[in-house]
């Protein structure tokens, strides 16, 4: 007997067949499961021919940004269709070659606040992965207190002249363009901030990578000296930057919270299997170290609770236009799950999980060390855990400061 739900599912089922066929035709089997999760941290490497072909195909189809509108190069899919696409991609071992800050943060924000001209100029080139964006937010004296930023954009008629310094510019050395918060008015802390788009190859832009404890340099110090920026690159109005910038941060938190949702380690093996391999089992086939075993289980339960919360939030958000204040919770839990998992991985592997380079360690073990150290950044960047807790206390719980 056909139910109403079955009939509703029909168009989705048709889409599933379409997606499956398209993936079979366009996803190079050589790339199965070859997604490099650390590429955002270690930088874009040289693309193989197959990788370039895959990015080109996904870019042309718009499925790298499946729910973005078609007229700007997106896939134009409904959320339900996008979920089906995700399932079919997982089934085929395919991964999304379109990513970065443009997709995660800037694109959704520009779709909301940008002029038609700005959307047509920038969104299609994010959707096909041809232009890379970086974030110019933090400054040496404006980290958690972001609104204290000082980089100044002076009105010079048809353009601004920008002077100042940004830090923690993610991917600054690989980026084509930068979305930046700049000060256009020194007399108002929040209302003096504007949202400006800056070409990274403009004269006067200087980028210096910052080496992290993991050895990688995913962030930069970026210096701006008399950089000319055309006025058409102002998003929204002068003084609207704080509103736009914090909206973007909500997108950032939502996207940053996704990392910790599975009980797997690098290479896709379940932690339980890795643990047994490194630590051995007792007579009943259980992990030998009872103490570690229970802490691993506690972590796995935490990760599953987080995954279920992400799913629940996604379902609840369907009726809303975008991310809510709850994204702050997601980022903190995501950071916790990510860091706990890396710490447990180090413990599982013992000395073997603390290799830095050279012989005696497998590639996966050396990657694990980097993942562990890089993971320490997750609770700091994109608004530290402490700042997220402030957001939770103030915005969700309505608590006010003392005094």
């Amino acid at each position: 007997m056909a139910t109403a739900a079955d009939q509703q599912a029909d168009p989705l089922e048709r889409f599933r067949q379409e997606a499956r066929a398209w993936l079979a035709e366009n996803f190079p089997p050589s790339l199965r499961g070859k997604d490099n999760a650390m590429s955002a941290v270690e930088g874009p490497g040289d693309q193989s021919e197959d990788e370039a072909r895959w990015q080109q195909a996904m870019g042309a189809k718009g499925w790298g940004v499946p729910t973005w509108p078609k007229q700007y190069g997106g896939g134009g899919l409904s959320r339900a269709e996008a979920r089906v696409l995700q399932e079919e991609m997982a089934r085929a071992g395919a991964w999304n070659p379109i990513g970065g800050m443009g997709v995660m943060m800037f694109g959704p924000t520009l779709l909301e606040y940008g002029s038609e001209e700005q959307k047509l100029e920038h969104i299609p080139r994010i959707a096909d992965g041809t232009v890379r964006w970086c974030q110019g937010y933090s400054e040496p004296g404006a980290g958690s207190d972001l609104a204290a930023l000082q980089m100044f954009a002076e009105d010079a008629g048809d353009h601004y002249v920008v002077n100042g310094q940004k830090t923690w510019t993610s991917g600054g050395q690989w980026a084509d363009k930068c979305f930046a918060l700049v000060r256009t008015d020194r007399s108002h802390k929040h209302a003096g901030i504007s949202f400006l788009l800056i070409d990274m190859d403009s004269p006067g832009v200087e980028v210096k990578p910052i080496r992290l404890i993991s050895g990688a340099s995913p962030f930069c110090e970026t210096f701006f000296t008399d950089v000319k920026v055309p006025k058409r690159n102002l998003v929204g109005r002068e003084g609207q930057g704080w509103e736009i910038g914090t909206r973007l941060l909500q997108h950032e938190r939502t996207s940053l919270s996704g990392g910790g949702s599975t009980g797997r380690m690098m290479g896709g093996e379940p932690i339980s299997a890795v643990a047994k391999k490194y630590r051995g089992v007792d007579a009943e086939g259980r992990l030998d170290d009872a103490d570690l075993r229970m802490r691993l289980v506690r972590h796995e339960m935490d990760a599953r609770a987080f995954a279920l919360t992400l799913r629940r939030a996604a379902l609840e958000a369907k009726s809303n236009a975008g991310p809510s204040a709850a994204s702050s919770i997601m980022k903190n839990v995501g950071a916790r799950v990510t860091q706990d998992r890396a710490e447990l991985a180090v413990e599982i592997m013992g000395m073997q999980g603390l290799g830095w380079e050279g012989e005696g360690f497998t590639e996966a073990e050396l990657t694990q060390t980097r993942t562990w150290l890089w993971g320490k950044a997750v609770s700091i960047y994109g608004g530290s855990t402490e700042i997220q807790n402030n957001v939770i206390a103030k915005r969700i719980l309505g608590m006010t400061e003392a005094g």
Partner: protein, 356 residues
């Protein structure tokens, strides 16, 4: 703080002053960048030898000062504060094995040289990536020749003298005959090596029970290094919170952060108590050294983990950079946590020793 005698106070203050003046963390950074093959600072080690610290647990008749393990711990703690890359801890503990051993000729030959800082010695015990892990020792000795492979031997790159555990006891291997070292470059940028012994000439020091005693001493001294690291990482964080201004005020004025610092100070006090108690138990020759050491290493592991992670987090962005020292404490903490049994290992051992 344990009640120290005048000599111990002098020793501690001297070590602290030397570490602060001659071996600040910047010295470790320089060494890390230069990456010498032996993995330690030769000049610093030579000074340590002149000051007699390598002979702190060595009896006076062999040229040492016989101050004992609490005194050695005080020095190692001061060096740990600044991450001084010296082979002092491994050398002194290896000397301890020789002292506890039964071979008088070995004592007469090696202890005076160790006490003078002329020889780098170390323990070669573990055969896998975990202390006391699934692989039991398969190192064997026949006709005075030892064969086996030891993993992650601290100072294994530069040591001339190895105290090696085998199936039937502890042995001393001196020199390079039958010894092959392969460096293991680890996150803490210190010396660790796989050491392969193939028919290496070996002198017997004692039975398997000696290995347990020696490892307890090594774990207690490691805990002392961890104590120094935790104290210094905490102090560095405390200073930073009192300096860094955000939202128009110093970070140290935020109550949420004050309470985290208060919690850490609390844990540090507990850590100091258990570490000193373990060292004192060794010096007093008490019968419960084993559980005192497991208590110390378990608490040290948990506390340094807390403090080193919080040091990075509370420094924020700057704490994630290689340019800052926070990462050095984080990396070294993980290696010392894994060395001679992590917190879980020592909780299990403590449980067994206490009838759980």
């Amino acid at each position: 703080m344990a009640v120290l005698n005048d000599e111990q106070v002098m020793l501690r203050d001297m070590a602290r002053e030397w570490a602060d003046n001659e071996q600040p963390v910047a010295a470790f950074r320089k060494l890390r960048n230069a990456a010498p093959s032996e993995g330690y600072d030769r000049e610093a080690w030579s000074t340590i030898g002149q000051m007699g610290w390598a002979g702190i647990v060595v009896p006076e008749e062999y040229g040492g000062s016989a101050f004992g393990y609490l005194s050695l711990g005080l020095v190692v703690e001061q060096l740990g504060r600044n991450l001084v890359a010296s082979p002092l801890a491994s050398t002194a503990v290896a000397a301890g094995a020789i002292i506890l051993g039964e071979d008088e000729a070995v004592k007469a030959e090696w202890l005076p040289r160790i006490a003078a800082g002329e020889v780098v010695a170390t323990l070669a015990i573990d055969e896998g990536p975990h202390h006391g892990g699934v692989a039991a020792s398969i190192t064997r000795v026949g006709n005075g020749r030892l064969t086996g492979t030891k993993q992650f031997v601290a100072e294994g790159d530069g040591a001339q003298l190895f105290v090696v555990s085998a199936q039937d006891g502890m042995y001393l291997v001196a020199g390079d005959e039958g010894v092959t070292r392969s460096s293991r470059r680890m996150a803490d940028s210190r010396s660790h090596a796989e050491v392969r012994f193939e028919d290496a000439p070996a002198v017997r020091l004692g039975g398997p029970e000696l290995a347990g005693k020696v490892v307890d001493r090594a774990a207690a001294i490691t805990a002392a290094e961890m104590l120094g690291m935790a104290e210094q990482a905490f102090a560095m964080t405390n200073d930073y919170l009192k300096t860094r201004v955000q939202f128009g005020q110093k970070l140290s004025t935020f109550q949420a952060l004050q309470h985290r610092m208060a919690r850490m100070l609390t844990e540090l006090e507990l850590m100091r108590s258990v570490v000193e108690a373990a060292l004192e138990a060794i010096d007093a020759g008490r019968s419960d050294v084993d559980q005192a050491v497991s208590l110390a290493k378990a608490v040290a592991g948990e506390t340094l983990r807390l403090v080193s992670r919080e040091t990075v987090q509370l420094h924020g962005g700057i704490g994630m950079t290689d340019e800052h020292d926070a990462g050095f404490y984080l990396k070294r903490s993980a290696v010392l946590e894994a060395m001679w049994g992590n917190a879980a290992y020592h909780r299990e051992r403590f449980a067994r020793l206490n009838g759980y």
